[in-house]
């Protein structure tokens, strides 16, 4: 004789589970269903924090409004994601903003050639020649400068003005921060060389041994090497360090918000960021469209009025407020005190087959741990 329980009870429970399962499946699938209906989307990766907010409002949202292409923004592990995605054949990111085109030695394998045909004539004409590279479009010029936490340098107290001053811990004591140079940009090494007496105009080729000797001297006074753009800004505004190197745009943003920080253009290093498109992206044409839009004078002007980096499109200057000139790295009065990072030297290949950039990476990785 069957002792199965109450039939209606069994059906009820089963029905309930079916409904629950269906509901769960729908809930999880819903965003995907919606997104599939809304049209084209590209994924764009660049820095986070204040920059993320600025670029979303001044470039990404107007782009979506004008072209109907949705943009998803990512801030995680930019270069690592490119390599991982291209190597595995699953490219999810369509455009990435990187500093110094770090993949120069493997550019053909990892990046798409920029389709300058997608750019309008006006943009092409007014873009700086260095910005029109084969595998990347120069986006803006940023400077690595010396920045201060103002409460630690009150009016009467002199501040370090040069990198030699920065290295002089007796006259200017206090905890410091410098950029973690593990990507081989050479910025921190350049500052170390200038502090040891090298003329900024005669920096390259970098004397690596001399630079590390100089760095050994300052190392005990470094609280932390910063690797994320917002870090030095945070360290300075929280007064964890009294002086450090930082990107000018981050410090300028903080200043605009009223934080007690300041920067100095003297002996700053200028470098360019580039938009690159990972090889094998499924949205290549849309990505090129985006990159072309971002390079237009109006879009660049809007972004840089928020971030204070130097636009690579000279046409942007006509749209920018004249008062902003003092805040931009590439304006005449600031450019004369700074030196350019030498991407060409970083790309050059040594007799042993490594690029100078790779040599710097190896050397830094060993030095920073000891």
């Amino acid at each position: 004789m069957s002792t199965r329980g109450n039939k209606s009870g069994g059906v009820n429970r089963r029905r309930l589970m079916q409904i629950a399962a269906g509901g769960l499946a729908t809930t999880i699938a819903a965003p995907h269903i919606l997104r599939a209906q809304s049209g084209k989307t590209i994924v764009v990766a660049a820095n986070g924090g204040a920059y993320e907010q600025a670029i979303k409002e001044t470039v990404l949202q107007p782009f979506t409004k004008e072209t109907g292409i949705n943009v998803v923004y990512s801030t995680q592990n930019l270069e690592a994601q490119i390599k991982a995605q291209v190597d595995s054949g699953n490219v999810q990111t369509d455009a990435v903003e990187v500093a110094g085109t770090p993949f120069q030695s493997q550019a053909e394998k990892l990046l798409e050639e920029i389709d300058y045909g997608a750019f309008d004539k006006e943009t092409l004409a007014s873009l700086l020649p260095e910005a029109k590279a084969k595998f990347g479009v120069g986006y803006y010029i940023f400077s690595s400068v010396m920045a201060y936490s103002l409460p630690d340098w009150p009016q009467g107290k002199p501040r370090p003005q040069t990198w030699a001053d920065f290295w002089d811990v007796k006259r200017f004591p206090g905890p410091r921060t410098l950029q973690w140079d593990g990507k081989g940009d050479g910025t921190t090494l350049a500052f170390a060389l200038i502090a040891s007496g090298v003329d900024p105009a005669k920096l390259y080729p970098l004397d690596i041994d001399r630079a590390y000797k100089s760095l050994d001297a300052i190392k005990p006074h470094i609280t932390k090497f910063w690797s994320v753009g917002a870090e030095p800004a945070q360290l300075l505004s929280d007064r964890q360090v009294v002086v450090g190197s930082a990107w000018n745009g981050r410090i300028q943003s903080l200043k605009d918000q009223g934080a007690p920080v300041e920067l100095s253009w003297n002996q700053g290093e200028m470098a360019m960021t580039y938009w690159v498109v990972p090889r094998g992206t499924k949205n290549r044409d849309l990505a090129m469209k985006f990159v072309a839009y971002a390079s237009s004078a109006a879009a660049q002007a809007r972004l840089q009025s928020r971030m204070a980096y130097g636009p690579t499109n000279s046409g942007a200057f006509t749209h920018l407020d004249q008062k902003l000139a003092g805040k931009l790295p590439s304006s005449p009065e600031n450019i004369k005190n700074q030196f350019w990072r030498n991407d060409g030297w970083l790309r050059a290949v040594q007799p042993n087959g490594q690029t100078n950039r790779e040599v710097l990476i190896d050397r830094w990785t060993k030095w920073v741990l000891t």
Partner: protein
């Protein structure tokens, strides 16, 4: 009864249980799942570390490179030293707290237990962030130090080794306390009362009875803490200074920044090897699964490997020698040895004293976060200059945060459901099989909990990169389930052992097929365990950072990943607001869970 003996693992007559022939099937899903998504990926990491050069020849080149780099050796040594220091501090501070919880009145011990559990249920990213605020150059701690005149200049605690030690101790202390409490509960009160009745002072009662009985539990607790400390990644990154590099950080740098996967795999394997060696040592003292189970009844079953007779004799003779020394040389004229009562009373007050300091230590970071979330200033200044709700506003009005919360909820739910289903199956197998199989299965099932999460994350990262699943919800839910399954197995098997087998046999004797017995009798009886394990699996997934960092993609940003970016990129108190909301949610859910548990218990006793 033979059945009870069987359950407790002591050799006894084996009586075949009703579903034992089907037992292995129950474990199959869990076994296959862990094989595919844990053991095989780990093998993949080991494989990558063994292949070097462009043609992928098998060699130990990566290892020779790793160990010949003096920087790496320094990092390895530092990771060890850090873990050792943290373990010692944890054990020394956890012991008095655990002792107090064990011996104090139920009211006080409940309060202290709550103070210990509350941080335990808070996301450890939030807890680390709290210490970033507290230990800053002009944070509350330094304000106190300079204000009290203890130092002219603010001390560098944040971005120094001490900051890392404090942060790690804070996160590991609840584990230590809970493990010790569960072991101490197995020491019967009568023994100490018996010692007192035979004339032992409180000190002697503690030194000669309680301490030796608790030692076999303290040692594996210390070893487990050491193992967890070795694998820490988030805390050294956020709180450490220039020199505070640990092996997990090396793994991350290699995989994500220098893009040298073989080097990263090598560092991961070295970390894994060290962890396994320490774990094997810990296992000799006590079956680890008893320690890791949050259900304290499990510990009462004993199965403690008693300290060897020789060790005991040596210890007792040392104590005897010390008291002889005291009597002969320090207090030769004293006839009434009970006069020492005063000193024992002072020592006795030390325990509540230390415990209250520890409770303060455990709760204060949470109390810092909440005021800052209401700060009107843009920056993390404490005390806040004014009050404002704008940070809470920005959390709810910004699409980023609400999207991140929603994605975390989705993944947490998926992971909880999945791990409860397959974990219950594994638990059914484990509780109904032979003792030896049970021991081995527990070890294998616990592996995801023991192996450092950075190693597991890198392993799954390599696997999912090949499968082109990085950034998919399914991948992250699977990854979270890998660590949730052991949690579920531990809790559900504890619950199953409380089920009276006679009820199941009665149901079978009335004609119910095994599936009915399972569905209509066993499962309802273990429902509290299922719910608790589901809750803990969800919570684990909701707070999980390391797997999420490796496996998230542009379209998949969970709440912890968003917070991680926020802690590094944003300087505003928005993170404090999110943290306070998380804290509030945890407290509410925990309170609800406790209330329903009490209500269930009340219903049962009625």
């Amino acid at each position: 009864m033979a059945d009870a003996a069987d359950l407790a693992g002591r050799p006894g007559r084996k009586i075949r249980r009703s579903a034992s022939s089907h037992s292995v099937l129950w474990a199959m899903p869990a076994a296959i799942f862990l094989l595919l998504f844990f053991f095989v990926p780990l093998g993949g990491v080991i494989w990558i570390s063994l292949t070097a050069g462009p043609n992928g020849a098998v060699s130990l080149l990566n290892y020779t490179e790793f160990f010949s780099n003096s920087g790496n050796l320094k990092v390895l040594g530092w990771t060890f030293a850090l873990a050792a220091v943290v373990t010692v501090i944890c054990v020394l501070t956890a012991y008095p707290v655990a002792y107090l919880i064990r011996r104090a009145s139920p009211g006080i011990s409940g309060l202290i237990l709550l103070a210990v559990l509350l941080p335990y249920f808070t996301s450890y990213l939030v807890r680390t962030y709290a210490w970033m605020v507290l230990l800053g150059r002009f944070g509350p701690v330094n304000q106190l130090v300079v204000g009290l005149g203890l130092s002219d200049e603010p001390l560098r605690i944040l971005y120094s080794s001490w900051g890392v030690i404090i942060g790690m101790t804070y996160i590991l202390l609840p584990y230590c306390v809970l493990i010790m409490v569960s072991v101490m509960k197995g020491i019967p009160d009568q023994l100490i009362r018996a010692a007192a009745s035979l004339g032992a002072s409180r000190t002697n009662g503690f030194l000669r009875i309680f301490l030796p009985l608790s030692a076999p539990g303290v040692v594996p607790a210390a070893l487990l803490t050491f193992i967890f400390a070795l694998g820490f990644y988030i805390t050294p990154v956020l709180l450490g200074g220039r020199g505070d590099v640990t092996v997990p950080m090396l793994v991350d740098t290699s995989v994500n920044t220098t893009l040298n996967w073989p080097a990263g795999a090598t560092a991961a394997v070295v970390l894994l090897a060290v962890t396994l060696v320490v774990y094997a040592a810990a296992n000799r003292f006590m079956r680890i699964e008893k320690l890791l189970s949050p259900r304290q009844e499990l510990a009462d079953q004993g199965d403690r490997r008693a300290p060897s007779a020789k060790a005991n004799a040596a210890y007792v003779s040392i104590l005897d020698a010390i008291s002889r020394f005291r009597r002969r040389y320090l207090f030769p004229n004293r006839t009434d040895y009970r006069k020492g009562k005063q000193s024992t009373r002072r020592l006795g007050n030390l325990v509540p004293g230390i415990s209250s300091l520890v409770v303060l230590f455990l709760l204060s970071p949470l109390f810092i976060i909440i005021p800052i979330s209401f700060s009107s200033s843009n920056f993390l200044s404490f005390p806040p200059p004014g009050l404002s709700l704008r940070w809470y506003n920005s959390v709810f009005s910004s699409g980023d945060w609400t999207l991140a919360i929603w994605q975390s909820v989705k993944i947490g739910t998926l992971s909880a459901i999945f791990s409860v289903v397959i974990g219950t199956g594994a638990a059914l197998f484990i509780t109904r099989t032979t003792a030896r199989l049970r021991a081995w299965s527990f070890q294998l099932l616990l592996a995801p909990m023991i192996v450092p999460s950075i190693v597991g994350s890198v392993a799954l990262y390599f696997l999912f990169a090949k499968l082109q699943m990085i950034g998919s919800i399914g991948a992250l839910a699977l990854a979270h389930s890998v660590v949730a399954v052991p949690i579920v197995v531990l809790i559900v098997s504890a619950g199953l052992q409380a089920v009276d087998p006679r009820v199941e046999r009665a149901a079978a004797s009335l004609g119910a097929p095994p599936s009915s017995v399972l569905w209509r009798v066993t499962i309802p009886l273990i429902r509290p365990s299922l719910l608790i394990s589901a809750f803990l699996a969800f919570l684990h997934s909701f707070d999980e950072v390391v797997y999420a960092l490796f496996l998230s993609g542009p379209r998949l940003v969970t709440l912890p990943v968003r917070m991680w970016s926020g802690v590094r990129d944003e300087i505003s108190p928005t993170i404090a607001a999110v943290s306070s909301l998380l804290l509030l949610t945890t407290v509410i859910v925990y309170a609800l869970a406790e209330i329903s548990r009490h209500r269930q218990l009340a219903r049962k006793t009625v």
